[in-house]
Structure formats: structure tokens, C-alpha cells
């Protein structure tokens, strides 16, 4: 079954699920509304044997990173590198890559969230691989994964201020700087 056929079958139940305009290169890419993320993955897992969650991550689309996010000014600041602001949107985009080990098919699903109080249902329970990856996204972006039993910081230090991979992150000097 091709990716388009799977999409057509899923669209009957999830009308918000559409093909992305700017796909991930070489992979079928769909955009899914935040509300039906868990239901879509549940269906993919149970009906279409997508059993392997490759990656969960996110992108902050609010423009080039704030140079104040670095304690010392970096060699090439993102803002000075001439990034166009046309792509800037006030959204987070959560990116999932999921694959079926039996057929080797790999899909990319994306979901746009408002930057204020961003939240998306957790995939905990369907794919255990989502456990730590969702915690990492929470740590780096502050996106809440509803239904995750242990959503707390994972990589950064305990008293980290703010979420470092947000583009507007400003570094607060601590006793080690």
C-alpha cells in the first residue's frame, strides 16, 4: 500500500489530515491537527503496522535565534547570517518520523501549535520511544505533552531558566558563567 492510499483511508476519519506543502525531502509528509495526533498514530500503529517511532522533535518558526541566547557572542550569529524573515511564523511545529519495519515505509507527520501554551497529546503508551524524546522537546521548547506521566526536564540543569531552543531564548548568567 502506498503512502497516498494510506492517507486517503485516514482522511475519511480525520478530515484535517492533509499533505504538507513543503515536504521533508524524500519522505511523504502530512500535516495533522493537534487534536487528532494521538488518534492518527493509534490508527497508523494498529491498522497500518507503523510500529517504529524514529524521531520526535520540534522547530520554532518565530525567526532567527536571539544572539542573547549565547553567553558569548558566537562566530556567526544567526541573525547576522542573513536569514530572511519571510518564513517567520508565530508557531511551533512538532515533527514526528514514524516507520513500518515490515515494509520499510517511512512517514513524516507535522503538527503546528501556537507558541503560547503549546500543547499536544502524548504518544506515551503507543510508542515507548516517545517517552524520553517528548521530555526532551518539553525541556528544549516547553511544549506540553498531555498525558505523559513523567513530563519534566531531562537534559538541562535543574535550575535552568527558560527553554534553550526557543528562538527568543535569552541566557541568564548563573554562578558558572
Amino acid at each position: 500500500m502506498t503512502a497516498d492510499e494510506i492517507l486517503a483511508k485516514l482522511q475519511a476519519s480525520f478530515p484535517g489530515l492533509v499533505k504538507s506543502e513543503a515536504p521533508l525531502k524524500d519522505y511523504p509528509t502530512w500535516t495533522v491537527p493537534a487534536g487528532s495526533v494521538r488518534a492518527v498514530f493509534e490508527r497508523l500503529h494498529s491498522k497500518f503496522s507503523f510500529n517504529y517511532l524514529d524521531m520526535v522533535t520540534a522547530t520554532d518558526w518565530s525567526g532567527p535565534a536571539n544572539p542573547k541566547g549565547y553567553p558569548q557572542s558566537p562566530a556567526v550569529t544567526p541573525a547576522a547570517a542573513g536569514a530572511p524573515s519571510a518564513t517567520a511564523k508565530d508557531v511551533f511545529e512538532v515533527v514526528y518520523i514514524v516507520s513500518a519495519l515490515s515494509t520499510g515505509m517511512r512517514l513524516c507527520l507535522r503538527c503546528e501549535l501556537p507558541r503560547k501554551e503549546a500543547a499536544v497529546p502524548s504518544l506515551y503508551g503507543i510508542f515507548m520511544a516517545s517517552d524520553w524524546q517528548e521530555r526532551e522537546v518539553y525541556d528544549m521548547y516547553g511544549i506540553k505533552f498531555e498525558g505523559h506521566p513523567n513530563l519534566k526536564r531531562i537534559l538541562t540543569q535543574d535550575d535552568q531558566q527558560g527553554h534553550p531552543l526557543r528562538k527568543d531564548y535569552e541566557h541568564v548568567a548563573d554562578k558558572f558563567d
Partner: protein, 181 residues
């Protein structure tokens, strides 16, 4: 006694054998420099080069460098790798657990000054911000030979130490490390 007498000018064997005279500084420093026991403690990439130094080709043990798994038996800490802010407090704690006199070799660019991560929000830019350092070893990562050279430099420093404290002693030898934040 042959080795001792060859290497140490200030130790003299008395005629008849069995007894040798030496200053206590000379004797203690001789013992100290010949058994520099580091802590088995690696942080990042440099730790692999440190392991290579212990292993077949380089054989660190011939210099008396023999890793100890617990800080309470260690003389020297190789800070081999990037010091993340989350790791800073455990490092201070380990350093406090080491008995005096204790030495620190900052191995690699990260432990010296932050290295390639100089502009990162999560890295302590140099381990000397949290604990005193005796020898700075540049490189990313330094070769095992370089680590040996750092130990030789440390031994040179040790030879200058005196029992009384004063010249050549580690900064915290007199006061202990409890004052460390």
C-alpha cells in the same frame, strides 16, 4: 636500593649497608612522584584518549599512574572532557572527597576554557572556575603522549613541594578544601 641511590642525589647509603639517610622532603616527594594515582573518571571525548593511555601501547602504569575507582584513594583528578553545568556540583563533591595533597590536570580544550563549546549555555567554561587546576593540557582531544607529558609536568611540580607547606604546595593544602563553594 640501587634505583633509589641512582635517582636521588640527596639520599646517601651509610657504609655497611641497610641504612640510608635522606631529607624527609626528598623521600616523600620521591614516593609521591612515583605513584601518581588518578581517579577513574572520564567526562567526554578526552576520556577515550585517557583510556588509550592506560592501555597497551602507552602503558601509563610504567610511570606509576594506576587508576583508582574511588576518590578517597586518588591523588590526581584528570578532568577529561567538557564540564557541563549539571556536572559541576558532582565534580566539586568528588574533589572534596579526595585526600590532601590533591592535584588536578585539566585535559583538553573544554576543561581549559570551554573549547568548541565556548558559547554554549550549558557548559562551564573551564574547570578552573570551580576547582583549582595544576596543569592545563591543550588539545581537542590531546594525544595520550600529551597526557603523559602533563603528568611529567605535575611530577616536576610535586618535587618542589615541602613538608612545611609553603613553596610549591597546592593552594588548599594548608586550609583544606572545605571553603570551596
Amino acid at each position: 636500593m640501587g634505583i633509589v641511590l641512582d635517582n636521588l642525589s640527596k639520599i646517601e647509603a651509610l657504609p655497611g649497608g641497610g641504612i640510608a639517610l635522606a631529607t624527609s622532603d626528598e623521600l616523600i616527594n620521591w614516593a609521591r612522584t612515583s605513584s601518581v594515582w588518578p581517579l577513574t573518571f572520564g567526562l567526554a571525548c578526552c576520556a577515550i584518549e585517557m583510556m588509550a593511555a592506560y592501555a597497551s601501547r602507552f602503558d601509563f602504569e610504567r610511570m606509576g599512574v594506576f587508576p583508582r575507582p574511588t576518590p578517597r584513594q586518588a591523588d590526581v583528578m584528570f578532568v577529561a572532557g567538557t564540564v557541563a553545568k549539571k556536572m559541576a556540583d558532582p565534580i566539586i563533591r568528588i574533589y572534596k572527597q579526595m585526600p590532601e595533597p590533591k592535584f588536578v590536570i585539566a585535559m583538553g580544550g573544554c576543561a581549559n576554557c570551554g573549547g568548541p563549546f565556548y558559547d554554549s549555555y550549558a557548559v562551564v567554561k573551564g574547570v578552573d572556575k570551580i576547582i583549582p587546576v595544576d596543569v592545563y593540557l591543550p588539545g581537542c582531544p590531546p594525544r595520550p603522549e600529551a597526557l603523559m607529558y602533563a603528568v611529567i609536568k605535575l611530577q616536576e611540580k610535586m618535587r618542589k613541594m615541602t613538608v612545611k607547606g609553603g613553596h610549591g604546595a597546592t593552594p588548599l593544602q594548608g586550609t583544606g578544601s572545605r571553603k570551596l563553594t
